[in-house]
């Protein structure tokens, strides 16, 4: 049996729920989980003050209710499953290294910052800075996968060093800014200044995109690895047409203010 938490009281200010991860609650019964101390603004409260808890910690947690003001869920998660049946707040899966987080609704800013492994699936939209580095850090996402089926906002994959981010809808500005390596796929439209300051890595987009003047056009070609990647993404529920699977892509190199070893691939029907 898994742990089931349903919210009975909506927090006035964000709850900081970094203790609520499938690994951190392993072996705890509902009473022990209810008694866990978490932060509510500047007050210490217990999980039970906001959630009705059922079941036992056996590697999976289901959360229900309006969790838009619940932050830091699944922080440092190493294994197990965390399923959020609704919206969720900021800083989901901070630095996680394994396991899977699924959000049926929308997510706030900072999905999977500095994560090293595992998978986060957002069925709705996400806000800014998914898969990014925290301010000041040398590197963002180090590995793992973030799948956002809806739209995402600015600075997706800021400073990412490895891993995969897929946005089913549109992305905001500065996608892949300061990227060190890794792959970002945007199936919708991308905002401006994509790949600014990128050293290595790939950004793939299905729609015409405005290039920074520090990016240079290389060629039009069909990268074989895209077919493999897109086939895998189809199994994750992303809608990718055969034309895109087999089509041609413009390749742009950049950012020449940095190493110039990154690429932006733009689908060209």
């Amino acid at each position: 049996m898994s742990l089931e938490l349903s919210m009975h009281t909506r927090p006035q200010v964000p709850l900081e729920a970094e203790l609520l991860g499938p690994d951190k609650t392993l072996g705890l019964d509902s009473k022990a989980v209810s008694g866990l101390q978490i932060q509510h603004g500047n007050e210490q409260v217990t999980v039970g003050d906001f959630f009705k808890v059922k079941g036992k910690g056996e590697g999976a947690i289901h959360l229900e209710g309006d969790l838009a003001r619940v932050k830091l869920l699944g922080s440092g998660m190493t294994t197990g499953k965390l399923h959020i049946h609704g919206d969720v707040g900021e800083h989901l899966g901070v630095g996680m290294s394994g396991g899977e987080i699924t959000v049926d609704g929308n997510a706030g800013d900072w999905v999977g910052p500095e994560m090293a492994g595992g998978r986060i699936v957002i069925k709705g939209n996400a806000k800014h800075l998914a898969g990014s580095a925290y301010r000041g850090s040398a590197a963002g996402m180090l590995g793992g996968e973030i799948f956002i089926h809806g739209h995402a906002k600015n600075e997706i994959g800021h400073g990412m060093r490895n891993g995969l981010i897929v946005i089913g809808g549109n992305a905001g500005d500065f996608t892949g800014v300061n990227m060190l390596a890794g792959t970002i796929v945007v199936l919708g439209e991308m905002g401006i200044r994509s790949g600014a300051g990128m050293k290595r890595g790939s950004i793939i987009t299905m729609n015409p995109a405005e290039m920074l003047p520090t990016f240079s056009y290389d060629c039009i070609y069909h990268p074989v690895y895209l077919r493999l990647l897109f086939r895998a993404l189809r199994t994750q529920g992303f809608n990718i047409s055969d034309a895109k699977l087999t089509g041609k892509y413009q390749r742009w190199s950049g950012d020449s203010v940095e190493l110039n070893k990154g690429e932006i691939l733009v689908f060209t029907p």
């Binding site: 925290y134 301010r135 000041g136 850090s137 040398a138």
Partner: protein, 547 residues
Amino acid sequence: MASTLRFVNGRVYDPANNIDGEVRDICIKNGKVVDSLPDDTPSIDASGMVIMPGGVDIHSHIAGPKVNLARKLQPEDHRHDPHPGTNFTRSGSGGTVPSTFATGYRYATLGYTTVMEAAVTPIGALHTVEELHDTPVIDKGFYLLLGNNIYLQTLLKEGRHDEFKQAVGWWINKTKAYTAKLVNPGGDEPWKGKRNSNVTDIDEKSDLLNISPRDVIEAFVKTVNELGLPHPPHIHCNNLGHSGNYKTTLETMKTAGDLRMHLAHIQFHSYGGEPGKNPDSKAVEIAEYVNTHPNITCDVGQVMFGKSTIMTADAPLAYLLRGFKKGKWVNADAECESGCGILPFSYQEHVFTHALQWAIGLELFLLSEDPWRIMLSTDHPNGGSFMSYPKLIRLLMDKEFRKEEIGKVNQKAIAKTNLPSLDREYTLNEIAIISRAAPARALNLKHKGQLGPGADADITIYDDQEDKEMMFNAPRYVIKSGEMVIEDHEFRNDYYGKILHSAPEFDEEISEDIRPFFEKYYSIEFENYGVADHYLHEHEIIPRVSS
């Protein structure tokens, strides 16, 4: 709060009063140490404990614009090290450049009660004073960067030596500083004006004003001694970090003649070898000079392995280092009377240069014969955080531990030094000298660094432990100006210390000479410059000394 306190049965180390581990009572009344208290005064039993004056750090970087820039540059450093508040103290953030509150509390948890900020631009003095007000527990002061000041150097060039003296007096008064600090004297200005044209020799005349570092150093040694500032000019020599720089350091010390001079973080200035090639150790030569010249004091600037933050008014140096590191850095103060560069750094055991720097620092400590003239510092946060002092103390006091640590570092570097052959172990009395009595004496803080009647009741009481790192990491009691700030390792009280500064006499007329220069070149109003009296809260003017 109790205005009296008495500790009985503790072993007292008070080298300024020739007390070396004697068991005796320490009595405190109204913030001062007193001879005795009435018999019915309650006593705290300090048996098994070691009592020392509160620590005095003569060279650290804890407040002001460059420190704050270093904080802004490294949010990651803070994020990984939150500093929670207690019922008595405020919260903050740590890392190598802690927030103001965390800086004060963390110094206090090591038993330090006085700290000097070692490099403040005149234009940054007001910011520094405001930050120092928010740095709890410790008393504090700052040294004023005057070694790359165009106005002052122009006076030197024109041979107007009396005006030079008056102007230095004006600047120290105007900013509420403690003494003059020279950083890469005469080198920053030409570097700012012409990319990478730093001076490399103490006698090299800059093409900007046609004066040499030696001209600047000589003028300041003479002037600061004439003005009777409580601490001599505090000098960061030219060529910091460069191979072969020990010659510059020796020449700098010779420039003092027999006048007082303090050499900052001398470890960074004790390198042999050819410029641009690998360095070796010249600790023997430097220690020999210091040993035989009682007018010279210095602090070591020990390198400790791990994360550090380079922050210096030596902008050309930071520019050079940023080329190796390729990470983030900041250059600042290009537009005012100094320079400034900041970059995150990390000293690693396996790196030749880092291991050599570490070993040279320890050599200097172990080779110096007079602990009253060589003081404990890591040039926080340049060589490492002040939080590593307890480990440094253990390295000095425990030769077996030192041997183990030597075994862990780059052996090619160790082979360039005499460190393995040095068997000396510092005694508790010597540690009390290098970390409190000597810095207090070098600063002419007569009421600090000692526990005689009338001394400030800044006192640290440690549990006597075999492991000196453990011991110095966690004093059981810390008393600041007679208030029990830490009791049984916990904060029991908050306390805000005072600003210590000098007020040398000078001829007011000099301001009419400075004003036109100021109005021509500065970006703020003459009247808004410096630190007006009403900005000072608790403060103390340290009287002039005759040399």
